[in-house]
Structures are given as structure tokens and as C-alpha cells.
Point group: C2
Chain length 454, copies 2
């Protein structure tokens, strides 16, 4: 990876050191969200999206953090701020389950569109986004994701396209869609380097020319003393959290960096943070991968809630675009009357089936690769099944590994695609009251527009 001089074109006088967050407002919000400040318009809005995160993904992760020795289940950071749920349908007739593009468009624009479309209507006409509105109003803006930063969910906030798969076009738009001669997004952190460093166009050089620092690993990101930042930490998506090397930042690291940069703007900021690969793991029916990515999401949620609680002027909204996998906490494998889901099985894994599959392809020994990742002993029957796998077929190999884990842990799935169940909606801070209840997901974009307009 070629990384350009991070300081090109930036006046060193504007570089400041972050010494901490203002303690403007610190309420006793230990559990009840009732004590939030709801009087004022928020200065900052942070939208957290768990891609594919249905109610069961949240429950699964809560069982992972639960301490069996305590009588009550330990709570997740967002649990006290659950305020409702969202329907996620796209506008297509005859299609009742959303993809990430259509659903992210509702958050970004307040309008429903067809699957595959990014902030355009079904005829391809651009719909203004809340991020663009925030930028025009003088706020700073950011996108953070563990997928390619030009993947559907972040892309809906800063590009317009009928086809989410045209990620080169989307990367071009990230640079070409400008306000006052500068790109719309001040901080972009995620994967997708290959869409920026291309033969046909060197977007890295172009962003650098507009004063962006370019970083490609965690330490570079933490050292960057510039408020305009493009961090691309993988050619495509980042490795899953449990599979990462220390040079790859967590979602929490990226969230913290983004907030540090963006919160310098006295006018406020708008930031989207996506845990992109909850969805990817669920597409693979990979419960270990789901827990890895939920844990990555929780690092970002903690960072965001620490900031928002201290700051007192930040609205935090957290939700999902749709459910993936038809995940359930229990399966036929557990029998009709044996009511058990075994998080203990999942806790034995050091990394996810994706890395096990890589290891198996490298060594030619799937059973050894599996046993290296876990203290779980494979049964003869399980070994037999794994021996039948064609290691050349990466997808088949990973699925076979996931199937063993699903059966052992009694994890149920109904599809490799998305499902239509409502997703949870969390809100905290000024403006959060308006999110209470069940809504169409368009309400998120509509309310953000309203709050920006106030």
C-alpha cells in the first residue's frame, strides 16, 4: 500500500492536541433513559448501525458477556436505551425484505427506495442525505465501517447510485461530491483501499491534495494530527475482530479517532459508525463470527456512549438495517424439550471460521486447523464430516466448520440471506424521546433532518 504524506497541504497551525472531552453534562443515567436531557437540539449526532443485527444477534452477544456466576444477566451498554424498533421493508413491490443499500438509504434520506439503490429513488434521481445537509450547515462529518468504506451502508450517506456494486464510482463520488471545494466527508475510516488506489484514478493522491491525512494501520491512525483523515486498513473488508493483527484498529479505535477529529468543530458533527460484518458472519451462518463482530461493535458503542454521556449535547441513535440469517437462540438439534443454547461452545474459540479456513488451506489439514482454534474436542463423526470437505472450496470449508459449531451450540439459522423481522432501536441524549415506539425505518432519516433543521 502506498500512503501519501499525511500532512500535505495542511496548515500546521490548525493542528491541536486532544486533551479530553468537555464535562458539560454528566447525568446519572445508570439505567433509566428517562433522565436524559431532551430539551435541546443536539449539537452532534452519532448513528451506530449493526449491519444484519437482529434481536437474536443482540441476545447472543449478551449471553457471551454474561457472567454465569452472577444470578442476573449482565447488561449490554445500550440495553438501558432501547426505545423501540424499526420495520425495514424496501419500496420494491413484491420484495418484502431489505438489502443494506435500501435500508441505509432510509437512514440517510428519510425515504424508502428499492433494493440495491443508494440514496436515489427507483428512477435513479438523487435524494439529499443527512450527511450532506450536516456538511452544508457547517458540521463536520464522518464515516466509519469495518467493510469497505464504499460498501452499501456508509455509501448511502455520501453517494448516489442505482447500483451499490459500482464501488469505484462510489469512491469517485466521495471525492467529487464537494462542498466549498472540499469532499463532503471529513473522516473516513474502514476498508476498501483497492477502490481508491486504482490504475484509472489515484484517489489517494486526490484526497491528499485536498489536505487529507492518509493512514493504513492503527499506529498511523493514532498518530495522525490532522482533522481530515482517510484511513484504509485493508484492500477490501477488515479481518474480523478475533482474526485481526494488532496493526488493524478495532471499530472502537476508529470511532474514538473519528470523534476526536470531528468534535473539534464548535458547530458540531454527524458521524455514522457501522459494524459491517455482523451481517457477513450471519450470511455465513457463522455464530463465532457474529460474536466477534458484535464485540467489535460494543467497543465502538462504549466509546460513543462515554463521549455522549460526558458531552451532553450528543444524540446517539443505534439500530440495524435488517436481520441476517434468521438466527435463533436454540435449534432442533437441542430436541423439543431440552431448552438449551450453549454459549460455552462459542467461548472456546480463539478466532473465527474464516481464519480456520485460511489456515486449513495453507496447511492442507482442516481438522488440525479447527483444533488449533479451540479447546473443543471434535467427535469422530464431526471429523468424518470435515474430512469430506473440498479444501479448495473456501466457502464450502467455512460452512462445514460453522455447521459443526452451530450443531454443538444448538444455534439455529433459517437462511443464508436476510429476513424481515423488526430491528431494535436505541436512542440516548437530546432529541432521543422522538424515537420511542415502533416505526418505519424512514423515521430515522426524517428525524435527523428535523433535528438538523431546528
Amino acid at each position: 500500500m502506498t500512503v501519501k504524506n499525511p500532512f500535505t497541504g495542511v496548515n500546521p497551525l490548525i493542528l491541536v492536541v486532544i486533551v479530553g472531552f468537555a464535562s458539560v453534562f454528566l447525568s446519572d443515567c445508570s439505567h433509566s433513559p428517562v433522565s436524559q436531557n431532551n430539551e435541546n437540539k443536539p449539537q452532534n449526532i452519532i448513528l451506530l448501525i449493526g449491519d444484519g443485527m437482529g434481536p437474536a444477534h443482540i441476545k447472543a452477544y449478551r449471553k457471551f458477556v454474561d457472567k454465569p456466576e452472577t444470578p442476573e444477566e449482565e447488561k449490554l451498554v445500550l440495553d438501558p436505551y432501547l426505545v423501540g424498533s424499526l420495520s425495514t421493508e424496501p419500496s420494491d413491490s413484491g420484495i418484502s425484505i431489505a438489502d443494506s443499500a435500501a435500508s441505509a438509504t432510509t437512514f440517510a434520506t428519510g425515504t424508502r427506495t428499492i433494493n440495491g439503490a443508494l440514496s436515489v429513488d427507483s428512477a435513479g434521481r438523487s435524494l439529499p442525505t443527512v450527511l450532506e445537509k450536516a456538511k452544508v450547515l457547517g458540521l463536520s462529518t464522518g464515516l466509519v465501517a469495518t467493510s469497505e468504506i464504499v460498501h452499501a451502508t456508509p455509501a448511502a450517506f455520501a453517494s448516489h447510485h442505482l447500483d451499490r456494486d459500482q464501488m469505484n464510482d462510489i469512491a469517485d463520488q466521495y471525492f467529487d461530491n464537494q462542498h466549498d471545494g472540499l469532499p463532503m466527508v471529513d473522516v473516513m475510516l474502514g476498508g476498501g483501499l483497492e477502490y481508491f488506489a486504482r490504475d484509472d484514478r489515484d484517489l489517494l493522491a486526490e484526497f491528499s491534495g485536498k489536505g487529507y491525512s492518509l493512514v493504513s494501520n492503527r499506529s498511523e491512525m493514532l498518530a495522525a494530527n490532522n482533522d481530515k483523515l482517510l484511513g484504509l486498513f485493508a484492500e477490501e473488508g477488515l479481518p474480523k475482530m478475533w482474526d485481526r493483527k494488532p496493526s488493524t484498529p478495532s471499530l472502537g479505535d476508529m470511532a474514538k479517532t473519528a470523534i476526536q477529529k470531528l468534535s473539534k468543530n464548535p458547530r458540531g458533527f454527524f458521524l455514522v459508525i457501522e459494524a459491517s460484518q455482523i451481517d457477513w458472519a450471519a450470511h455465513d451462518n457463522d455464530i463465532v463470527g457474529v460474536i466477534s463482530e458484535m464485540q467489535d461493535f460494543e467497543t465502538a458503542i462504549k466509546t460513543v456512549m462515554d463521549f455522549a454521556t460526558e458531552d451532553g449535547n450528543t444524540l446517539v441513535i443505534a439500530t440495524a438495517d435488517h436481520e441476517t440469517g434468521g438466527l435463533s437462540i436454540g435449534s432442533k438439534a437441542s430436541g423439543e424439550d431440552f431448552y438449551y443454547w450453549d454459549i460455552g461452545v462459542i467461548k472456546t474459540f480463539k478466532y473465527t471460521p474464516a481464519k480456520m479456513t485460511d489456515d486449513a488451506q495453507a496447511s492442507g489439514d482442516l481438522i488440525a486447523a479447527f483444533q488449533k482454534a479451540t479447546s473443543l474436542e471434535l467427535t469422530e463423526n464431526e471429523k468424518e464430516k470435515l474430512l469430506k470437505v473440498d479444501l479448495e472450496d473456501w466457502e464450502q470449508t467455512r460452512r462445514a466448520v460453522s455447521e459443526v459449531i452451530n450443531k454443538r451450540s444448538f444455534t439455529g439459522w433459517t437462511t443464508y440471506g436476510h429476513t424481515g423481522v423488526d430491528v431494535n432501536l436505541y436512542a440516548f441524549g437530546p432529541g432521543s424521546e422522538a424515537f420511542r415506539g415502533h416505526w418505519d425505518n424512514t423515521r430515522v432519516g426524517q428525524l435527523i433532518f428535523e433535528l438538523l433543521d431546528q
Copy 2:
């Protein structure tokens, strides 16, 4: 069925005609629950329980009531009052998924217990219930269900037993557990006649002797001019709503009758209403049955919300004891990229697979019985599968019918048992603020005790 004189022992002078509900408080609660009266202790508490009703069951029913011709999804009555969710674990070590007895015990007592146990701890020691507390405080009390009225969920409020299956014992306790010389529950409406009219004990005569009216069909129930009422409308559970004859009341009919009786008490009332057979249908992986029973539940919810909105002094809590079936709105049958769940298939059915199975056993022709219930045309492949079914085996027959419907509608299930996903929590009226957020289900019982104690 032998039904005793409904007026035995009742002073005709206390019979009054209900002319309507007091319009003490009518807020503009068209969507936001924020405008509720939260200042005061509620006079009345109504707890609505959808047995086995997970997030996907609610979504499925919302798709059923949705009008495809309108751009936005139509809302359910409770949608504006979604305030959070509940964890549902029992206290058993090594068992992570609740049964109805353990979960209902948390609502009834505020304490977790083991699966199978009704308002006793794991050693069998009785735990006081909110219904008993309400009765001692002078409130009127009621239990309404579509299962046997001595089935686990209602039973947890008015009996104490280590074994939920001992339904004769539970029926005995309904009579024997008394306050001031009268049974604890003033109005009981549901199924389960066989547990009251027994060779070893005639509980019907005993209740009648204590001044209860006994009714066995809808018109008798509506005509009963007595505030103490025992209505048993089937030997075991009621038929599913879509399979009922007009002589069997809906859950809404029973809810309305119960409220009419109980609301005469100026001290207030405590009422539990359970849509019992959402769970039963889900155990059968029967999506048509789930929709039937969700619709029955909605009739009760409408009745309750009409009363509570007018009354202004009623706290309504609605939730579920656990999820059943691992239901999802989408399945592998729809393919990995074809995002569709077809409620249209379900809408073609006039009644549920239970009645189709009865019809097939009577006629000997399952295909004719299936085609009589729906405008859906069976394919040759589907017919072949149905022809292989052993009609003598009622369970096998019903499952075969349900499998055809699941595949056609792309409905996914992961188990014939329960799962551990969080269940939705709705609250409306005075006291409702305290329910906001995610909680262990023990909070429901604990808060009801606190509200009664105020």
C-alpha cells in the same frame, strides 16, 4: 358439559348493567407514548401475555394486517407503546431457555425459578403472587386465557406447584386458596373444563356454592349478570380463533367481559390475559395458526387499550414469556438473494392446519381437506408429499400440512421448542415509564408489587 345455575347464591340486588367506561382521561396518544399520564399510581393493572410471541411473530402479524396498497406499513395497536424488551432465562443451571411456568412465575412473583415450577422456588416453597397481593388489598382479580385456565401461564398467578402438569391440583388450588372465605380469582375465562368437572371432585359445584356464575359459551358469558364468573369454553384448550364456531368467544370477548366485571370495584383490579396458543401453533411450526392466534390476541389488545385510554387510571403491560419455534420472516427456500416472505400465501387460508387435519381424518382425503381450506393450488409435488402422510397420525398430518405452507410462504423455523431471544415489552398508562429499556423479566413482577404497595 354440565353447567350449573349461573345465579346460585348471588344477591340479584348487586347486579348492575354496564353502560360504558368513564371518560376520566383521554389523551391524544395517537402515536407517541410520551403524553401518557405517569404521575399517579394506576388503579388497575392489566397484564397481556402472548405466549411464545417473539419479535418475528409480531412482525408476521403486522405483515398480515398491512394493506399492500398503502406505502407505509400499517401499525399494530401496541406499536406506539413498545418501551423495551425482556430476557427470559429460568434459574436452572445449565438450562438457558425458559418454559412458560418459569417465565410466568417471574411476572407473578418477581422471582426466577426453575422450568416447570409455578410460583414456588426450586425447593417447592411458595412465593407470594401479585394477584394474591391485589386480592388482599381489596382489588378484584381475573385470569383469561385460550388454553386451559389452569395451564402454566395463568396458573402461576393463582397457584403454587413444582409441577405445572398437575392441572387437577392447580384447579383445586384455584378454589382452595381463599381470602375472606372466597377464592382468590373473581373472573376466570378460558378452557379446561375437564379439570373442574371431575369424578373425584366437583369444582363447578363448589365455585357455584361460593356465588360464581358458570358459563360454557359466548352467549351465556355475555348474558351473565354476576361479577364472579367461571367460564370454561372447552374441555382442554379453546379451538384456534380461525377454527372456532360462533359459540366460542374470542379472546377479545373474554377480555371485555372480564373488564366489565372487574372494573365495578372502586378499589381497582388486576387482570391477566393470555393469548396462549401463539405458543402452541409455533410449537407446531404452523404459521397460519400463529397468525390466527395473533389476531385473537389483537382483539383483546384493542379491547384493553380502548378501556385504558378512556379510563386513564389503568396500567397496561404487554409482553411474552419466551419465543417459540425460532420463527423468522424468510427462509432458505427463498434462496440467498431473493428477499421475500409471502404473507399472501397465509392470507388464502380460511382456517388452520389443525382443522384441516380433523377434516382429513374424518373424510380420509387430506388433499381435499387442504384444498377446501385455501384458494392455493397444490402442486403435483406437494400432493405427492401429502399422499404419503399416515392420516392416523394427527401430529404427522398437521406437520406435513404446515411444511407445505412454510415452504410456499418462505417461513423459517429452527425448532419445535422454545428459543432464548428477548421478547418485546409494551407499557401504557400511569407507571409505564418504569418499564423503559431492557430488563430481566423479573422486573415485571417486581414493578407490579411496587405499584400495588404504593
